[in-house]
């Protein structure tokens, strides 16, 4: 539940669309960015920030907030877009994205940006930090939750499985992790770089409450967040495996040959905005 009114009766569809739009505008500033990932994860971020999480836009360090950890720091462009939409970062600041002295560096870092809870960049850190935060919140008898977004490629890191094992061992039912399965990492499709499947079975075997959904189906994403939150008191951490489509919402990017870092030509940023604008939800 949001605690500050920032536009009443705005649909999640529209929030997700706005997040995509902010992200494309930031990408245009630098002529680059992990835009395909930002587009694929926009529905998840919209649901987190405008349906699931408790926070105060004017007080990003509020003690009772739900924490959001961005483990995949290269998705910073997506989280900045969500933080702008949430009113934590002023909208006009997106023009500074990735520039010298900006609070919005290309890779997310805790010390730079309000609302950025950890320093990513080096992949596979987020879940370990989340375990500590969850232990700390339980120790403080806080009912705040820790949401942690990470990418499928991070599951190659052994440390991620250390954290997965320990979250179950410590019964961290205040942890909701979301893994963005877009099946794309630096050297190619995750299925060829390092096979992860059957991921749901693996995570269940590790003692988690696991849901697998289409991460671009807002109704499904919302239901998954609700079910994960309902796990509070069940002594199990929750994992949402979200299968997503890179470039979602901009058809010519959806269709582009998949790559970890999708090249967008300078004239294409406007085309991407136009394509998005044609699909503006009410």
């Amino acid at each position: 539940m949001r605690t500050a009114p920032l536009g009443h009766n705005v649909s999640l569809e529209r929030r997700a669309w706005n997040i995509r739009r902010h992200a494309i505008l930031m990408g245009e500033v630098q002529g680059q960015g992990y835009i395909a990932q930002a587009l694929d994860v926009a529905d998840i971020l919209a649901t987190a920030y405008f349906h699931a999480m408790r926070y105060r836009p004017d007080d990003p360090g509020w003690g009772e907030r739900d924490r959001f950890l961005l483990s995949n720091g290269h998705y910073a462009i997506a989280l900045y877009a969500a933080l702008i939409e949430a009113g934590i970062i002023p909208e006009d600041e997106l023009e500074t994205y990735g520039s010298d002295e900006s609070r919005l560096p290309m890779s997310g870092m805790a010390s730079y940006t309000p609302g950025m809870e950890m320093s990513g960049g080096s992949l596979g850190l987020g879940l370990s930090i989340a375990v500590g935060k969850c232990l700390g919140l339980k120790r403080k008898r806080s009912d705040s939750r820790v949401y942690t977004l990470f990418s499928d490629g991070e599951l190659d890191e052994g440390s991620v499985w250390e954290a997965i094992m320990s979250a179950a061992h410590h019964k961290l039912d205040n942890l909701i992790a979301i893994v963005d399965v877009n099946n794309q990492q630096a050297d190619g499709p995750s299925t060829t770089v390092m096979g992860l499947e059957p991921l749901k079975d693996k995570l269940e075997a590790f003692g988690w409450f696991v849901q697998r959904i289409d991460g671009n189906d807002l109704a499904a994403v919302r239901a998954a967040f609700d079910a994960a939150k309902a796990q509070h008191g069940q002594c199990k951490p929750s994992m949402i495996i979200a299968d997503t489509l890179m470039g979602k919402g901009v058809p010519f990017l959806e269709a582009r040959e998949k790559n970890h870092f999708i090249r967008v030509e300078s004239h294409e940023w406007r085309l991407a905005l136009d394509a998005l604008d044609e699909r503006k939800p009410s």
Partner: protein
């Protein structure tokens, strides 16, 4: 045939086992048990933010003392050092003061990126206390943390402390908790030698202290090498060599003013002695400082060689690699000839 064990002065056979854990206390030396664990318990009685965490080495880092006193403030993270330090960062971000322990090799080598990114870069208030620093295990390179100081010195935001004995460890524990930010401390555990109480010494973060003055030689040392340097200085008296000892327990930030003042005294041989590879530790830190400031005494370094060290008993290895008291005396006498 098994080689005969070398005899000690007292006539007893000297240990020759390449054990993982062996006391560094000399024959008949005064010791205190588990000073780190007991000091932490005392401090935690006053400071409710303190938590203990380990990666399956509670018993071997004296953290079990804390675990017994405060079982609900103790987190066993399993044999998973990356998780240990990432989770410590998370607990610190929630306002706690985690004291995370493991062996120095695992913190410095296995979990370096986790400490770098989640603790140092985020400037989290985590205290990292690591046993088996330098050459204090006979088990071989897997457990000999000969490069931990170089690695943590190179990390921004990190304070690095190398205490000498039980007396100092008892004072380092509250001092490092008073300091807000990441700290790496080398930990001596088990029966820990007691030396510095006789020198009226007190630890201050960032301060080097002259324990003994001497006009011909000045040892600059940290950790157990201060104990060795003090013994060497005593022994060198019989050779009519007057040696002083400057103890530098805080490797970073270095007490530049005191080191420069002591090294500027004319006519004195400066010998840095460290339980660490000669690459990137106290020796090179002091050398760099002196060069930058234009202070040029006669200068020598005693430290571990740039190689993978052998397995063996600690006394054997300390002799072989030149960090025993006898080796210190021999080197100094050779240099003064």
């Amino acid at each position: 045939m098994k080689p005969a064990a070398p005899k000690t002065d007292a006539g007893k056979p000297r240990l020759t086992t390449s054990a993982m854990i062996a006391s560094i206390a000399g024959e008949g030396q005064r010791t205190k048990p588990a000073p780190f664990g007991h000091a932490l318990v005392e401090l935690a009685k006053e400071d409710g933010s303190i938590l203990g965490m380990t990666a399956d080495l509670g018993k071997y880092t004296d953290l079990h003392i804390f675990a017994q006193a405060f079982p609900d403030r103790y987190y066993q993270m399993g044999m998973a050092e990356q998780l240990l330090f990432g989770a410590a960062s998370g607990l610190a971000a929630e306002g706690f003061t985690p004291i995370a322990t493991t062996y120095a090799v695992f913190a410095s080598r296995r979990a370096y990126d986790f400490i770098h990114q989640t603790i140092a870069e985020e400037d989290r208030n985590v205290k990292i206390a690591c046993a088996l620093p330098g050459l204090t295990s006979g088990y071989g390179p897997s457990h000999q943390a000969t490069e931990d100081l170089a690695l943590f010195r190179a990390m921004p935001n990190m304070v690095v402390i190398d205490p000498c004995d039980a007396h100092e460890i008892e004072q380092v524990v509250p001092a490092m908790v008073r300091h807000k930010g990441p700290v790496y401390m080398r930990l001596l555990r088990g029966q820990v030698p007691l030396v510095l109480d006789e020198y009226g010494y007190s630890f201050e973060l960032g301060k080097a202290k002259l324990l003994r003055d001497g006009y011909e030689v000045l040892f600059i040392s940290s950790g157990i090498m201060t104990m060795r340097a003090l013994e060497a200085a005593k022994a060198l008296v019989s050779d009519r060599i007057d040696a002083g000892v400057l103890h530098v327990p805080t490797i970073k930030p270095l007490d530049a003013a005191t080191i420069l003042a002591c090294c500027a005294k004319p006519g004195r041989l400066v010998v840095v002695a460290e339980n660490h590879t000669v690459n990137g530790g106290l020796g090179e830190a002091v050398a760099g400082l002196l060069m930058r400031k234009g202070v040029h005494p006669a200068f020598r370094m005693i430290g571990l060689p740039d190689e993978f060290l052998a397995a063996g008993a600690l006394p054997t290895l300390h002799d072989r690699y030149g960090i025993s008291t006898e080796a210190l005396c021999a080197r100094v006498k050779g240099w003064l000839k």
